[in-house]
């Protein structure tokens, strides 16, 4: 069974991790290893997790995302979840999924903009 792989690239001082549309369990569990390994090898502030291609966020996937964010936090980085589709947000909420205190952004673009800024002292977007 072929699933598209996860891609990890460094953009300025954050890691951009992009999940494929419908990852199988092995791909989901690779998220943790790939992300933490890349965090370890690069000098970055944190990571932006791009979920814009993702069509389904079931409880296993959601738990892995939340745990990964927690581990990245322990390593001193911050995770911003970006680009969740409306259908995924609705379904995940009805299922009962929560992602803890992880910051979120409408798009990767906005997430990259947020990435350098502390949570408590967020600047407003220029209008």
């Amino acid at each position: 069974m072929n699933t598209e792989p996860i891609t990890v690239i460094k953009v300025r001082d954050v890691l951009l991790v992009t999940m494929p549309a419908d990852p199988d369990d092995a791909t989901v569990s690779a998220l943790q290893d790939k992300t933490l390994e890349a965090m370890n090898q690069n000098t970055v502030r944190g990571l932006v997790l791009d979920l814009s291609k993702v069509e389904i966020l079931d409880s296993y996937f959601a738990r892995t995302v939340a745990e990964t964010a927690q581990m990245v936090g322990l390593m001193g980085g911050e995770t911003i979840i970006a680009g969740m589709r409306p259908s995924v947000a609705i379904t995940a909420t009805e299922l009962g999924v929560t992602l803890g205190k992880t910051r979120t952004a409408l798009s990767v673009d906005r997430a990259l903009d947020m990435a350098g800024r502390p949570r408590s002292n967020r600047k407003r977007y220029p209008q």
Binding site: D22, D24, D58, S59, Y60, P86, V88, E94, G96
Partner: protein, 135 residues
């Protein structure tokens, strides 16, 4: 009279859960379910398929299209010969898990679908049927 479509996917390994998910997605889209309704059905299938794999080791997902007058729908039936569920009410309670999960699989799947029926006997197995009607 429209011919009824049906099929089955064996769930033996973890990747089979993704195979089942993709089949359900394709059928739901063909039936005309919208993006969010399809996401609900596929997510429920993922939770129930994972339960089969996690608790029983293996089982089967049977799907069939439904037609009731003007209403069309999709039925998914997950059958296994695993340990069964000793207390169904407890298993449907939020946050209850015996498999190391978050305990949202069964109650979550029930919320995402229109109908759910559970037949289970300890030591014999479990059959969970869910249905979604197209509005």
């Amino acid at each position: 009279m429209r011919e009824r479509d049906q099929g089955e996917i064996e769930i033996k390994t973890e990747p089979d859960i993704a195979v089942a998910r993709r089949s359900v997605r394709d059928v739901a889209i063909q039936l005309g379910f919208g993006i969010t309704e399809t996401a609900r059905i596929v997510t429920a299938a993922s939770e129930l398929g994972r339960n089969v794999h996690k608790y029983a080791g293996s089982g089967v997902m049977r799907w069939r299209t439904l037609s009731n007058g003007d209403l069309n729908g999709l039925e998914l039936k997950f059958e296994d010969h695993g340990p069964g569920i000793p207390d169904v009410n407890e298993a449907l309670r939020e946050g209850h898990s015996t498999g190391g999960g978050l305990g949202m699989g069964l109650p979550g799947a029930k919320r995402l679908m229109d109908e759910m029926e559970i037949h289970t006997a300890v030591g014999e197995g479990t059959t969970i049927t869910v249905r979604k009607w197209r509005r």
